[in-house]
Amino acid sequence: MNASTECDVVIIGSGVAGALCACRLAEQGVRVRLIEAGPWIERASIVQGFEQTADNDLSAGYPNPDWAPRPNWNPSARPYIEHLGTVHPALEYLRVVGGTTWHWSGSAMRMRPEDFRLYSEYQRGVDWPLRYEDLEPDYLSAEHEMGVAGEASADPGLPRSAPFPMPPVPPSYAEIRISAGLKQLGYKLLPRPAARNTRSYDGRRQCVGYGTCTPVCPSGAQYAAIVHVKKAQSLGVEVLAEHRVEQLVAGADGKIHALRFTRSDGSRGEIRARLFVVAANGIETPRLLLMSANEHFPAGLANRSGQVGRNFMDHPGLLMQLRLPEAVFSGRGPNSTLYGSKHAAGTHRRHQPAWILSTQNSLDLHELTRTALTEGHMPPQLDQIIRTRAAHSFLLDTQIEQLPDPDNRITLDWKQRDSAGLPRIQLHYRYNAYEQAGFVHVRAQFEKMAVALNAQSHEILGPFSHHHLMGTARMGSDPSQSVTDLDGRTHDHNNLFILGSAVFPTGGTANPTLTIAALSLRAARAILAQLQTGQ
């Protein structure tokens, strides 16, 4: 093992949470190390990866090395996560420098004020230990850091103290047509706040409409956390890629003294620091805490409450594939520019979940072509069928709230190992009556939408995962029921913080990235204050 090295703060995970926090700390002169299991990647190599892969999923062009594995959709691959519940979601995240925002949709939505008070308002789930008003300044800062485009007055349910940094993304032709068709049902589709440049911003170009936001933006007009990783580097943060953290070392006093890692070449090392930050994700964060169990903390670190790994939440979603009478040309421009918040708030949340409607301006040409081939069509009719279907197809998506359920959880199987030699991750997962009621409601609404849009045919699919991995190290004011306080500081270890969606007590309906970013900026202040007081 290498000799120990020291710094003020070491952050595990170089995604948006870790990178933003690293920047804020380094700006104040803190000596920070940002440590990442996966490799460095370049935008051009990602594009090349997608051009070379035969797989049709949104991660296929990214590295998935044995020493830093991740979920893999290829059915021939050994599953990275063992699914033990009644529902087996196809989860997705990246392990590379910059994390999963390399291939996100850019959706930078705030959670709604009532999302933070779910129990108080609707006697469901739990309340957050902070209010929307407490987080609003950090939401605003996060929007400026990431460069979010939006319309301030669009959604009155989301009060703001200042405008968005950029005007909203113009809607695609397809979404304009769908929006017009859904008005008769009372759906007013709103500009979706997105971390996508509608003008030159922060040294990055205006969006030109490649239409490949997910899996990757070829131009960099869409924000990715690599922006803040590079800023952090320029501020003196040392970025250690291909360093897989396997253990946090806690003493009997509850202090974290070191972390131990293995490099991609198999060599090992240790880093000592005054303060440790785990900023992995809703799966890798609890895994590291559970793997770090020792004689003083046999149930894992930060787990006196027994809540580590529990309350795993996602935004399950139903999809509707439509074939429309008019050509709408899905796939031109950004992937989703509008959303509908009609069901995002209201007293119905006492008995069924909130959900938002997303218009998906995307085209799965591979699948569309494969279907036409399977049906036996031959050229030249085959070409005409592909062209017509591509022009007339549209996809509606939903993000449905899921309540925290302690039995939806991550555990470790110490008898089985993954390709890196670490205990295998197990996911116990199910949908409860609350979510099921949401699926019924969405289906009924979808049927009405299909009629309103005069769809020639439609198919409702799912529920599917949105890969929003939340809740497995939740924050709260009661240490017996939660893992961290409202700043992300763990109740059990004063010098251990957790960032990312793992700390969400409930999930609401918004894509989690902006809230992750806002909470990271908030946590950075708390970390700075703690370093200054010398605690």
Binding site: V47, E51, G211, T212, P218, D265, S330, G333, L365, I386
Partner: protein, 165 residues
């Protein structure tokens, strides 16, 4: 940051035992024969493969490096040459192969590869042979930008595509 990648060449490949080297020297003539066989098959099979592809896709597909690479991708497939010759013969005689025959399967197999750009066969994991030239992209030309290579321009996505008929 120092590189932590394992070097690609750690010297082990140059430490082969004599027995392995001997085996290698015996295998060399076989490898040469194999290459000669491939060259011969190219002369006889490739023209029919190209003709078959053109007939199936109804396109004047170019005889270029990409087409030849696609052909190479099929080469190790069992009964490939037989399938090429017999399917072309059936197409020339009847226009389409009768359903349920090996020729019907093979025609669909070749067509799928040309349109998706991905080679599917049970003996191997799927492989991407064509990128921008996969025929599915031609089918939607002018409607949607070619993935990673074309874009609409800012806000032009709010309008109907000019090329739409």
């Amino acid at each position: 940051m120092r590189s932590t990648r394992r070097p690609l060449n750690d010297g082990r490949f140059f430490c082969l035992p004599r027995r392995t080297l001997l085996k290698g020297s015996l295998l060399l003539p076989l490898a040469v024969m194999f290459q000669q066989g491939r060259a011969a098959s190219f002369k006889t099979v490739y023209p029919d493969f190209l003709a078959l592809s053109r007939k199936l896709t109804r396109r004047a597909l170019p005889d270029n490096a990409e087409t030849r690479q696609l052909y190479q991708g099929f080469l190790d497939e069992p009964w490939f040459a037989e399938h090429v010759h017999s399917t072309l013969a059936v197409l020339q005689k009847h226009g389409t192969p009768p359903p349920g025959t090996a020729q019907a399967w093979f025609a669909r197999h070749v067509l799928t590869t040309w349109y998706l750009g991905v080679y599917y066969h049970e003996r191997t994991p799927p492989k991407r042979w064509l990128k921008a030239s996969a025929l599915r992209h031609q089918a939607i030309s002018g409607l949607v930008p070619l993935r990673f290579r074309e874009y609409t321009g800012y806000a032009a996505w709010s309008q109907r595509p000019p090329e739409a008929t």
